[in-house]
Symmetry: C2
Subunit: 239 residues, 2 copies
DNA sequence: GATAGCGGACAGTCCCACTATCCATAATTC
DNA sequence: GAATTATGGATAGTGGGACTGTCCGCTATC
């Protein structure tokens, strides 16, 4: 097909498709003449994936580009691709590993040290994560991306005065385990490498969105039950 | 304290603080002279909340402004505030309610109709959500924000050819229920109105980030177990 | 052979979260 | 009490992100 049909089928405007090709998230069509190219189902599929990652998953185009680059490189071992996927999916929150050497703040601001990067909360948070991993017996390296991301969240909770929220960590972890097992199971049913990799991306990104929506639905239900009054049914998540 | 100290304590640059005041996310200090103002702990706390919502929660400043406006208005009934909070937290994905009247597409693109707004997937997805709500006996209005958001995710899954992923819906819902109960429990322990409202915001936003990180950690663990080989431990979520 | 569509290049747009510069005044330091 | 630094307020500028518009010369199709 030509670009116009691709646009019509996918709902993505022609200039936007051209833009995606320029940005490297979508492969160019195969040229049949100096100014004529063909696109196929693969392009359409890729386009739908891009839109889903962009609109539902909230990824940036550059993150998508990195993920898809790894997906498209047959030389990459699968587990590396998955690492890239998970890495780009995490919005690079706070938990950066910037260990020390934090000088340059106005002058003698070390006594306060409330910036995001480090601070006492971060060290505590990293310990909390390490303790969690040990407690649950998870086979996870304590400085991988997800662990640092979690530490960032915990540090943020402490900073906003809701350190008590971490009491729910084990409830959350209990919930995360079966979900992760189910995700893995879904992925294992794929056979082709491309399908496998793509399902990891889809599962990680859209799965997170799916759980988020379900959690909010469960909030509505739980508060409707807790507060009885149907007028107050929107107490947590609103009508 | 004055703005400089507020900046030092919170780690937010002075011009940025001024900007937040302009944007209405942070109340102005109380003037002591035409060009001198005082800030207090409340400002610092608010500033930390803004940064957490921005950096960890991924909310936009305008979304934060809407949420905080509702939080700060003592005339707002609590459940309305919570509705606003949940509403702004959802990134306004795909599941918009644009029912019909979709004209204007190039010309006769109705046969294809692959744009995001409507399409056959959206109707199916809404039905799937309604079925889920009925199946689980959740007291939720089928057209609230979270339900539409979920429908958007399901529609996206179908569009990218991963409709099978929705088989995991009930696994996810099983996991969401205890999490939501724990969240509600956490919130109910708050007494002061402001604390209550803030903990809903924090719990909804940071809780989602926390679960996401835990899920990815559980992925790493689950695949380490499934694939045994420690070299492959990063199979799903990467080292 | 007229018309519509195309590939490619590049400039322009809009939004967002800041960041920089000014200025007149206030606080602090010597 | 003079010099230095900080402050509030206003306005302008920046850089990134995701497009969108326009042009050109060529190609496919009626």
């Amino acid at each position: 097909m030509r670009i116009g049909e691709l646009s019509r089928r996918s709902g993505v405007p022609v200039p936007t498709i051209k833009y995606y090709v320029r940005e490297g998230v979508l492969p160019a069509g195969t040229l049949t003449s100096p100014n004529q190219a063909r696109y196929d189902d693969g392009h359409e599929r890729r386009l739908r994936l891009i839109r889903a990652l962009l609109d539902v998953g909230g990824l940036s185009l550059s993150a998508i580009a990195e993920v898809l680059e790894a997906v498209d490189d047959p030389g990459q071992p699968v587990h590396k691709v998955l690492g890239v996927a998970a890495g780009r999916i995490i919005p690079e929150e706070s938990g950066k590993p910037e260990e020390s050497g934090e000088s340059g703040e106005t002058d003698e601001a070390e006594e306060v040290e409330a910036a995001e990067g480090a601070g006492p909360e971060s060290a505590d948070a990293r310990e909390e994560v390490a303790a969690l991993l040990a407690r649950r017996g998870w086979y996870v390296d304590a400085d991988n991306a997800a662990a640092r991301s979690l530490a960032g969240v915990l540090a943020a909770l402490h900073r906003v005065g809701h350190g008590a929220f971490v009491e729910l960590l084990d409830v959350y972890a209990d919930a995360a385990e079966p979900v992760a097992r189910a995700d893995l199971d879904y992925v294992r049913r794929r056979v082709a490498r491309e399908d496998l990799v793509e399902s990891v991306v889809v599962g990680t990104v859209l799965g997170e969105a799916m759980f988020g929506a379900l959690r909010r639905l469960a909030h509505v239900d739980a508060s409707a039950r807790a507060y009885g009054d149907p007028e107050e049914a929107g107490r947590w998540a609103g009508a």
